[in-house]
Amino acid sequence: MTTAATRRGSSARHRPNVLAGVGGFVWLAIIIIPIYYIVITSVRPQAGFFSSNQLIPAADSNLDQYALVLQSDFFLYLANSVIITVISVVVTVLVCIMAAYAIVRSNTRFVRATFGLFLLGLAIPLQATIIPLFYMLSKAGLYDTLAALILPSIAFAIPLTVLILANFIRDIPKELFESMKVDGTSNWRMLFSLVIPLSRPAIVTVGLYNALGVWNGFLFPLILTQSPDKRVLPLSLWTFQGQFSVNVPAVLAAVVLSTLPVFVLYVFGRRQLVSGMTAGFSK
């Protein structure tokens, strides 16, 4: 028995665990029913959407509400979301890969203090800074601009991004750095020809993770922007809710549309996205 068990890994875990399976499917129902409801309701005609059993798709399902959302400046909000997400992520990854490289490869007091500050920064609640940020950005004339969303988004993405990248760069064999040094390669060249290429998986991971955070951010846009032409998608959902009011299918169509780009990312890059979420914590 013992040899068989060892050879097959663990026999106990190969016997189906019925209880776990049942629990798994209960949780599946909890997760899937609201999502199913969102999708099914978003294609329901507005008229009489309430009168029937809402879990059964309507016979006359259509995309009318999607058309309505798309005509309601949706593409403007989409563009704003894309702009702040792309700029925030690119700048974050760039400054963080430099910082992580310095943290791993140099041991000055300045660098160690910087890393210590970043670690402490993991515990700073974003919400606590919203009033002073509002004050500072107003003073700087940046209130109600996309920059007002980008700058703090970068700052708050830095601690975790540096931590994840530093953990990754630490695993690059020292010999690679040493041999390049012997060849007279400068530190900057090493960053671009050694560190960045070898850290690609980690860069993709933190890039996706940060993109998700900026894309879905609600508090910064709520406080730091005001005019409709600076509105980003999550905030637009909130204003759609006021605008469409009882037209629940339209509100939920907006929810689906705002999630669609991330859903595509999820379908194609789930592994990286998912590993990024825990990269800083589960090591």
Binding site: A20, W27, F49, V95, A128, L191, T259
Partner: protein, 302 residues
């Protein structure tokens, strides 16, 4: 620029490590937009500021006003309640789902892909969806005609707290499941093999291998969960906006209302500092308490 320990190495090679200045851009961003705001919040807490004219220095006026205000105390207690309830609900579910999804069975991999879906939804989307589902007149409960589902979930003071805890769990259990999944997958298979040789059943293996091995994962997840629940804002804000007299004025919501609705930015800054201090104390306390000061592997030597 190098320490004594490294001096010997660097002298031999042509270059020292990269200049510390490479860390400067990240540091600058972080100081200006994350650290400086904390100091500015402290300054604003000593002023009266209506968000339009300039702040007026009032010294310590705001502090006793806010700390002695029953509204603040109620908000603080409500925040603690949310933290405790969220932890009690989310930790067991996440841990079990983490173990579940760490299994290599095909059906579990498929379920996991669906379990993680809430991760990609924004808080605003989640809140709006649940607001629609829970609507007493137009929601799912009303449409199905099931009385126990058809309640005034968001308007009833006694219900809304549990509704919020449920929605927070719906949103964040996937994230913590992910953390636990990672933790479980790092447990060496040899431990289970040894336990099986000793004849331990699945239940015994869970209690004497999985759970102890997940100790640090539990600390990490709990810390994130506790600090996260303290500063929870988005879903509650969207969910309860327009629901008059809703009972979910936790600290961040209290801060928002004080600052942006009542235009008492000075007093709101006091709450901001409170949030920050409580958050730091909880985070550092939890990690210190559990001897988990470094983000390092707990399996050295295995």
């Amino acid at each position: 620029m190098t320490t004594n320990r490294e001096a010997g190495v660097t002298r031999k090679t042509r270059h020292a490590g990269p200049s510390g200045w490479m860390a400067a851009p990240a540091l600058a961003f972080f100081i200006v937009f994350a650290i400086l705001p904390l100091l500015v919040a402290l300054y604003l807490s000593f002023t009266n500021w209506d968000a339009i004219s300039d702040p007026v220095w009032v010294g310590f006026d705001n502090w006793p006003k806010v700390l002695g205000d029953p509204v603040t105390i109620t908000a603080l207690l409500l925040s603690l309640k949310i933290i405790v309830f969220s932890w009690v609900v989310q930790t067991p579910i996440s841990l079990l789902l983490g173990v579940f999804t760490a299994g290599r069975q095909r059906y579990r991999a498929i379920l996991a892909a669906i379990f993680f879906l809430p991760l990609i939804l924004s808080s605003a989307a989640i809140a709006i969806a649940f607001k629609a589902i829970l609507d007493p007149n137009f929601g799912l409960g009303a449409s199905l005609g099931l009385p126990f589902l058809n309640q005034d979930w968001l308007g009833d003071q006694n219900l809304i707290l549990y509704v919020v805890v449920f929605i927070i769990a719906w949103q964040f259990v996937p994230f913590h499941t992910l953390i636990y999944q990672g933790g479980v997958r790092q447990i060496p298979a040899s431990l289970y093999e040894a336990a099986e040789i000793d004849g331990a059943n699945r239940w015994q293996q869970f209690w004497s291998i999985t759970l102890p091995q997940l100790r640090y994962t539990i600390v990490t997840s709990s810390t994130l969960m506790v600090v996260g629940s303290l500063t929870y804002f988005d879903v509650i804000f969207v969910l309860t906006a327009g629901v008059p007299g809703s009972g979910i004025r936790i600290l961040p919501i209290d801060m928002y209302i004080t600052g942006f609705s009542a235009n008492q930015m000075g007093q709101a800054s006091v709450i901001a500092i409170m949030l920050c201090v409580i958050g730091l104390v909880l985070a550092l306390g939890l990690t210190k308490f559990s001897g988990f000061t470094k983000m390092t592997s707990q399996q050295e030597g295995l």
